[in-house]
């Protein structure tokens, strides 16, 4: 089997990796604090919509002022991150201070994310049709820079989580928030910080999907379900910032490989689309069934309602 390794392929691979890695990274940081994030796919799509809207709008604004437009996509990425970050703050506060179901809240935000993402992006999509001109420049240095930035972010998160006192506090909230409180952690504040930071990264990563990787967006892309790939990557790698790297690279490669195979060998397009999902499922099963689970366990209190005063008999 011969696969042509062209600069083109390299760029797409690096884009796939950067997108999936950053999303999975942010999601992992969020969940490390004990908050279940079932909204991931909705947040993913919302961020793509926001980023497309921002990219086009800022581009036009800069043009009208006569300023070079190179910064537009970067601003779009930051804006996505910001929007996602706000939701992260909200989720963290709600899930820590109210005895509500993490799953239910996450699930509803997923739907909201889809809907709001559509609203955010559909008008500009109608106006300009093709968003290619508004995406990141299609040059190898840009793509490699994005990958480098993603990896740098990962290293930073790793350092934060595993080397600093704050990181220890975040992880303690995920393992046992009651013991964490006893150790002196203000659980609500720490979770809000982790939630904000995590979803900021998620939002930035998701913005790369239309602006770097696919160079395309329409309102129907919410059905693609790529957020769930990031979810699976995070699950299988134990939400560890460094372990996420190989998993994200392989998964990104798988998706791109499947598309490339499809183009070269006429692999039916739906089979190619199905492969990543089947692999996700298989990965989850392998994770659950083997020792992997013991080694890469989720935080013990992930998704558990943090409720202090219970009834006693």
């Amino acid at each position: 089997m011969v696969v042509q390794v062209s600069p083109d392929f390299l760029m797409r691979l690096s884009a796939a990796f950067s997108t999936l890695y950053l999303v999975a990274l942010g999601h992992s940081l969020f969940e490390k604090s004990g908050l279940l994030n079932l909204a991931i796919d909705g947040l993913f799509f919302l961020s793509t919509g926001v980023s497309v809207f921002t990219a086009v709008t800022v581009h036009h604004a800069l043009v009208s002022v006569g300023v070079p437009t190179a910064l537009a996509p970067l601003l779009a990425t930051l804006m996505s991150g910001f929007a996602s970050m706000l939701i992260g703050l909200l989720m963290a506060w709600i899930l820590t201070n109210l005895p509500v179901s993490h799953a239910a809240v996450g699930f509803s935000l997923m739907f909201l994310g889809y809907g709001l993402g559509i609203l955010a992006g559909y008008r500009v999509r109608l106006e300009v049709g093709n968003i290619r001109p508004y995406a990141y420049p299609y040059e190898l240095p840009t793509y490699l820079a994005a990958t480098a930035a993603a990896v740098a972010a990962g290293l930073a998160v790793h350092y934060l989580l595993h080397r600093t006192c704050f990181g220890a506090a975040i992880r303690s909230c995920g393992e046992n928030p009651h013991a964490a409180a006893s150790l002196g952690v203000r659980v609500s504040r720490v979770r809000m910080a982790a939630g904000a930071l995590g979803l900021f990264a998620l939002g930035c990563g998701a913005s790369l999907f239309p602006l770097l990787w696919q160079r395309y967006w329409d309102i129907k892309t919410y059905i693609l379900g790529y957020g769930w790939f990031a979810f699976t990557i995070a699950l299988a790698s134990g939400r560890h910032p460094l372990l996420l790297i190989p998993f994200a690279a392989v998964f990104g490669g798988l998706i791109e490989f499947a598309t490339a195979l499809q183009a070269l060998y006429g692999l039916q397009v739906d089979v190619a689309k199905m492969i990543p999902f089947v692999v996700s499922l298989a990965l989850m099963v392998v994770y659950g069934a083997t020792r992997l689970r013991k080694v890469l366990e989720p935080p013990s209190s992930l998704g558990k309602t943090y409720y202090k005063e219970e009834r006693t008999v």
């Binding site: 006192c165 220890a168 002196g184």
Partner: protein, 515 residues
Amino acid sequence: MHHDGRVAVSVKDLRKSFPGGVTALDGVSLDIHFGEILALLGENGSGKSTLVKVLYGIYAPDSGEVRVNIGGKLTRVLINEPIEAMHYGIVLVSQVPQLIDKLSVAENLAITLSSLKWKGATSLSGVSRVSSVIEKECERLGLKIDPNEKVYNLTYTLKQQVELLRALTIGARVLLLDEVLTYLPTREKKRFYDILLKLRKEGRSIVLITHKLPEAFEVSDRIAVMRNGKILGVVNAGEITLQEVRSMMFGAAVKLLINDKTPSRKAGKTLGGEEIVVEQLHVKDDYGRDAVRGVNLVVRKGEIVGIAGVAGNGQRELLEAVVGLRRPERGIVRIAGLDITKRGARLARSLGVSFIPDRPLEYGCSVDHSVLDNMAVPFSLTNGLLLRWGRLREIAEKVIGEYQVVAPGVDASLKSLSGGNIMKVVVSKEIESASRAIVAHNPTRALDEVSAAFVRQRIRSRAERDRLAVLMASEDLDEVLRMSDVVYVANSGRLYGPLDPESTPREEVEKLMVM
């Protein structure tokens, strides 16, 4: 006396009750002095744990004041979270170490130190800084702890030492120790005492919660006794005897015993064959500690075997192992001759063994469902796929009538009943549905005197008339003495006995409980 008279912490008229109508603190007022060791004694449910949890910010009191000595003046404070308590120099160490298992010792301590901004440590400081600090403190205190060791690898003793290290490193002025010494081996306990005495000399306050009287007398300056959410009295250790304290703790129950004479057990009652047999059983608890250490036990048909003892001495783990809800590490459990040791709860149930759990809300019922639904589970009368609701309803109505459960009807949701009535439902369905044996843990807890008496009479009647084997553990000593044919005392995972309840003096049993 070694205290210098200045008050470190003072609480006034604290009240706290929990949903379900349980009053944990009923107007508690207490002064804690600098440079003293104050023992806080009381039975389970007396409120001792709740009091210190309020001081540590884990619970918020319904009413009352907490005042802390700040710069020589007693100032009223609101403590909403543990971090705030620590700011005032108050640290709580619980019987169950509140540490994060997956993190290392250094990481756990780093969390506390950075939260308090201790010695300039901030959130973003590296954890490695803390390691060197820990090593120094360990030397000072004579402890051997590896800062990089993960907490789940530590023994129970070491975990408690880490907790102590944490408290001392941040310079705790008031140390609240909740049943901390209970599980420590004797040598470590002595070491701990030495440390406590040293801390007292430094002018710190120590509140020692324990139910072991000798321990309290050995180190404390003053003793406070709690019962039913109230403080019965605070006395200097030298001015009271052990017996007097014991009677304060177990108190009024003694009078009841005299009034409610045990109906005489038939002399020479013929007991049947061995129904429940336990051989050399070793069981671990939820935290990996040895809760049951080599227990042997036999319960015959028609016999009631009672296990007395303060909570936390292995009774729960023993009973759960007998009904198949917990896997023993070693040993054998036999029911009706069948080895059921690692076979799960289903087998025990199918053999006709019912179980009244100590955590009734967790294992004994489903509060979101009706009385009838809850009863249907153990009775399980079916015609193929279909439940015989008619018959089940009759049984349920009969049972709640007999037990006088206060409920709108069998269709009422358990959630709507009071705690005591929920308990009645849990207990009654197990007692009435058993066909071979009843295993019960605190069967009359949260029941009023009349209901409790009824439950006991029912259990006894089922044992005698229906030849059921009954294995019961209760923290209520009177109940055990009143009901059992044979008594054992659980202490630190071992069973002492068999004792004859009629001929053994009560003091002897109590001594075994608190030694």
